[in-house]
């Protein structure tokens, strides 16, 4: 059975290692924070200027001056810090953030990503995504394998304006975990109950299948 958004977030949470500073994009990536193992130490960075983000505040304790990059009210944990946008992107550009998790509209088999614009239709802007993908050494994309019309979002070439070039390392979708390799998307894991065939059918870009593909452990 294909994963829901929570399932995708749970699977990605397993990629988060002890001692990582992590930047989470808006949408599914934000959910990842809820499923990181409790026995490891991780700090979440939000590019609007906070490190050491905690859970949402209790009702009545919201502070308009303390939000994340999704503009949601948040709290901070002991050891947190606030800083300006220049220093925030120094962290990102300077590769001090170990893991970036973000959503995408399309990913191509060479690791290009498109997630900021649909010409003539939707132009929200790239926010910090272009800085993140241009700098991060470790980028995981969280997305549905296909769009609402059923078309694959894992393509030979992105059709939408790019956010970054050859930067995506790993993709976790509702159907599979895939690694971007010089030869294309290598299938690493299947969602529970999803067949290789289903993933194949949902992937337009070149899919590499080596040996037995295990089911994800969640």
């Amino acid at each position: 059975m294909a994963l829901d958004k929570t399932g995708i977030a749970k699977r990605i949470a397993k990629e988060v290692k002890d001692g990582y500073y992590v930047n989470l994009g808006i949408g599914i990536p934000t959910l990842v924070a809820n499923y990181v193992r409790e026995d490891i130490n991780v700090e979440f960075q939000s590019e609007n200027g906070v490190l050491g983000m905690g859970p949402f505040p209790f009702e009545g304790e919201e502070d308009a001056d303390i939000i994340n990059a999704g503009k949601q009210t948040i709290t901070t944990l002991p050891g947190a810090s606030f800083f300006d946008s220049a220093l925030s992107f120094s962290m990102i550009r300077g590769q001090h953030v170990q893991l970036t998790i973000l959503g995408a509209m399309e990913v191509s088999e060479n690791g290009d990503i498109a997630n900021w614009k649909i010409p003539g239709k939707m132009v929200k802007g790239m926010g910090g995504a272009m800085d993140l993908v241009a700098s991060a050494e470790n980028i995981i994309v969280a997305m549905m394998h296909t769009n609402r019309a059923g078309a694959s979002k894992l393509l030979k070439r992105c059709s939408l304006p790019l956010t970054g070039v050859g930067c995506v390392k790993k993709i976790v979708t509702n159907l599979a975990v895939l690694k971007v390799t010089p030869d294309g998307f290598q299938l690493l894991e299947r969602a529970p109950g999803v067949s290789v065939e289903e993933i194949k059918n949902a992937t337009e870009g070149h899919l590499i299948i080596k040996g037995d593909i295990p089911e994800m452990a969640l």
């Binding site: 939000i67 503009k71 606030f82 132009v123 790239m126 910090g128 241009a134 790019l162």
Partner: protein, 233 residues
């Protein structure tokens, strides 16, 4: 001590005129110069180019200027959550330049710090880099981006003193510090304006040298865009 305090928002905005380029601090609705924006609406200056990470929402922040069509061009990184903005942009009434958020911050900082241009990897290979100079350093590609030029920078800080020194609170800091001193005239508004000597010199985020005028805002709504909470268990 060089006195920077002005008596009112009107005094603070003296010299603002049609067709100028303005920088405005804030991320979403967090840390925006609410009183300066209200006065810009009041003055009804038009043809403005606004450098600001976001464009407000329909009825708050820069959305108030958009409603009155005072803005000719926006330079931002993210402009979602604003229907009027989207309408003006898609219809071509509003000129929009979208640039990466880190590039936006650093083009402000370059203007503040006297750097003519910077090399950033952000946007390389995308339409953001089209027509721009690119260059390889150590096997990685970078885009040359220029320092902004602006007439006014409108800053929102938490506390400030007569000397123009500023302290920001939480994530309301965001772009505000990088924009201080990045325009010809920097106008800071604060929630609390104190006499010089009150703030700890060690804890000042932006020294007054980067600020030409400072005033205490009359009121702050500080609207929350996404109120997210959890329940006490």
């Amino acid at each position: 001590m060089i006195q920077k305090q002005v008596a009112s928002v009107q005094d603070a905005l003296k010299g603002v005129a049609n067709n100028q380029t303005l920088m405005l601090g804030g991320f979403g609705l967090c840390g925006i110069p609410e009183n300066a924006i209200a006065e810009l609406v009041e003055m009804n200056v038009t043809g403005l180019t606004c450098i600001s990470n976001n464009a407000g929402v329909d009825d708050f922040g820069l959305g108030l200027l958009l409603q009155k069509k005072q803005i000719k061009k926006m330079i931002s990184s993210y402009v979602g959550e604003n229907d009027e903005f989207e309408r003006q942009m898609l219809s071509g009434e509003l000129d929009v330049e979208l640039i990466p958020q880190g590039t936006l911050a650093e083009r402000c900082r370059a203007a503040q710090a006297g750097f003519p241009a910077i090399y950033t990897p952000a946007g390389y290979g995308t339409e953001v880099a089209e027509g721009k100079e690119t260059r390889e350093f150590n096997g990685k590609m970078y885009v040359l981006e220029y320092a902004f030029k602006a007439d006014f920078a409108f800053i929102k800080a938490w506390k400030g003193d007569e000397a123009g020194n500023l302290i920001f609170k939480g994530t309301a800091r965001n772009f505000n510090p990088c924009m201080c001193g990045a325009a010809k005239i920097t106008v800071a508004e604060v929630e609390e304006l104190v006499p010089a000597g009150t703030l700890d010199p060690n804890q000042i985020h932006i020294p007054g040298i980067f600020v030409q005028r400072i005033f205490q805002g009359e009121t702050y709504e500080k609207r929350i865009e996404q109120r997210t909470v959890r329940q006490k268990s």
